[in-house]
């Protein structure tokens, strides 16, 4: 959803400045550095499964509070798998899912993970929905990765 890109970044700027002017001990310095060790960009030796495993850690840390640990949805966040998710995402590209996620999630603090972390989480969503993908997803190839069972 590219239309919200600029608005999202200006909100982000506001959030960052809010965080900086506030008290907040540990977090202010790290708004952009959410990525755990996981965030190193995928290398040529990377596998899809390794990427999914990293995505799982990232996801639990940044997303599970709202979408639940098994992606099945909670009281706040919708399920990221199953019938309704598929109705929206089937036959779209991994790039579109990546961009929407980056531009809107985590809700209230969009675009606060590294690109690699977002891509890893997209791999997790792909795996969880049993879309047929076997090679690691990268920012470059994501446009050509189709979300199809």
């Amino acid at each position: 959803m590219s239309h919200s890109r600029t608005a999202a970044s200006s909100i982000l700027a506001t959030l960052i400045s809010a965080a900086l002017t506030a008290c907040c001990v540990a977090a202010a310095s790290a708004v952009r550095a959410q990525a755990p060790g996981a965030a190193s960009p995928p290398t040529s030796t990377d596998t899809f499964d390794a990427q999914v495993a990293r995505g799982q850690d990232e996801y639990l840390n940044a997303c599970a509070a709202c979408h639940s640990s098994d992606l099945s949805g909670g009281e706040i966040g919708p399920p990221l798998l199953g019938r309704l998710f598929n109705a929206k995402w089937k036959d779209k590209s991994a790039k579109e899912l990546y961009e929407l996620t980056r531009d809107t999630m985590p809700q209230g603090a969009p675009n606060t993970l590294t690109t690699a972390a977002y891509i890893d989480i997209v791999a997790l969503m792909i795996k969880s929905n049993e879309y047929k993908v076997s090679a690691p997803v990268t920012e470059e190839n994501a446009g050509g990765v189709v979300l199809a069972p």
């Binding site: 506001t14 099945s72 985590p106």
Partner: protein
Amino acid sequence: MPTRKSALLCAASVAVTVMFAGAPGYAQTGAEWPSFGGNQLGTQYSTLTQINTKNAANLKRAWTIKAAGSTPIFVNNTLYSCVEGIGIAYDPETGAERWKADPTAPGPDGKPVSPRRGKDRCRTIVYWQSKTPVAGAPCQKRIFWGDESNKFYAADANTGQFCRDFGTAKGHPGYVTHLDYDNLGQGVNRSGTPVIAGDLMVGGLYTSDAGINPADGFVRAFDVRTGEMKWEFDPILPEYRNRAGAGNIWSTLSADAARGLVFIGTTSLSNDYYGGSRTFDDPLSDAVVALSMQTGKVVWSRQLVHHDLWDYDIPSHPMLATITKGGKKLDVVIQHTKQGYVFVFDRATGKDVYPTIEKPVPKTTVPGDVSSPTQPTTAMEYGLTKLNRDDVFGINAEDRAACLKDFDAATNGKFLPTSAEKPNIIYPANGGGSNIGSASYDPQTNLLLVRYRNTADFVELRKPPAGSNNPHAYFGIFRRWVSPLGVPCTPPPWTELAAFDMGTGKRAWTRPWGQMVEAKGKPLLGKEEWGTPWSTSGPVITAGGIAFIGASEDSYFSAVDVKTGKTIWREKQELAPFAVPMTYMHKGKQYVAVAASGWAAMGQTVGDIVAYSLGK
């Protein structure tokens, strides 16, 4: 070290005596329904009687609004609803749209009020009218609504033109925003649901209390005319504001303008499930708080969960009812809760009307955390309270085996903190028990109806991954505790509707509510006596003796006899009405309406608003 007394903070000096008489006509529901839950008192009750137990079986669809938003309010001879940052007015007879107030549309000067609006659903819209209207001037009657782009908009209730005097001092005529002020943390996800109190629009902010360093749960009061911020309230004591965030009011609010009080229900501080970063005194988290309308200062407060380790935020507005007890009419605050108790307090003082009992609970074993030795409870308890291995459910042998495997791998118990070693089965779940709008009070029968769930969550504590910016030693992750097929592992009924007699505190009746129709997106029909696995919101009661309620996955909208709990009428909707209904009278006809648009948490967004009335 936190003090863990059931804190009854009393700022006696606060001007309780200041009178803010509400504008005539909207202190009482009747023909009108000017606010979420009926009026600012939020009892979810209407005095209308045209539709009653004798004729409700003849209810017919009166109108349908397609691709719509929140359950409307009805006031000023108009239905108002909101969706995705837009305020919309509809004709009360036909549901036909009159106008839209879209902040991104060009205004009279060619400029939009805002380049961006939220894309989220909208919980409700609220109405205000001037007691001293200036003839011919715009915006003497106003509607207000919030959105995910963190704004509260104001528009003329007659024309839908944005009120350009509102928010002007901050450089954005037409709206106010929490983002103009310091929120002491990140992630203001959206502006909360406002309430009108006299000439103030009071609204909280919505942030993720699960987050790493969320904003503090500020509540701000804005002048309805100018948008000037009159006061702000931070639920975190000043000396601890650099140590935690949240305590946000994500639910609805209520107000008793005659007493000069605004009522809020706060959430836990960040983060959920692990409290090692907030072992300080936080009497205003998970609390019912009465704020002075004039100053925003605390008049009284009652904490309903001490040092929350279960995500038991106060899920709904404090309900300002007048109950009958011991032959006397008492102005009270009723608070239903996720953890499954109804609390009843004196409205002016916060003192118990029904006893609150501090019950000893298990201690946490997590290094660095200090749990409260007791938790507040009452005799009006609901939701799952105990789980034996034999009672673990399974819709077939395989499913049951999987649920038993979870059971054996985890600890479980009401108010049992999650350990660092083992997963924990938490009940009631973080969705309740009861949740937003789950209860309504009927002054005729003195009954309080509560819709609640008997399901559980499966929670684990994790250490943040190396290199993470998460400053907490642990964070909790949860999933709904379900079988591989997606059916709750807790024994049915999974949802019930119950009536409590407010004269005695005893249950009058209890029945399963709703039905399972699918699991994990695949059709799966449950028995009627099992109830619906997932539900939120609750009923609205009318003087016709009926409770109108959706709140079930099976998508029915129903009329229930308040005295017996029996269903009198129901009709299936395209998407489930997971919203609190409303009712109004127009040109001699009573209508009952509800947003039947599913549940955002189930991946559903916009849907229909449907209305019913008696057939010709």
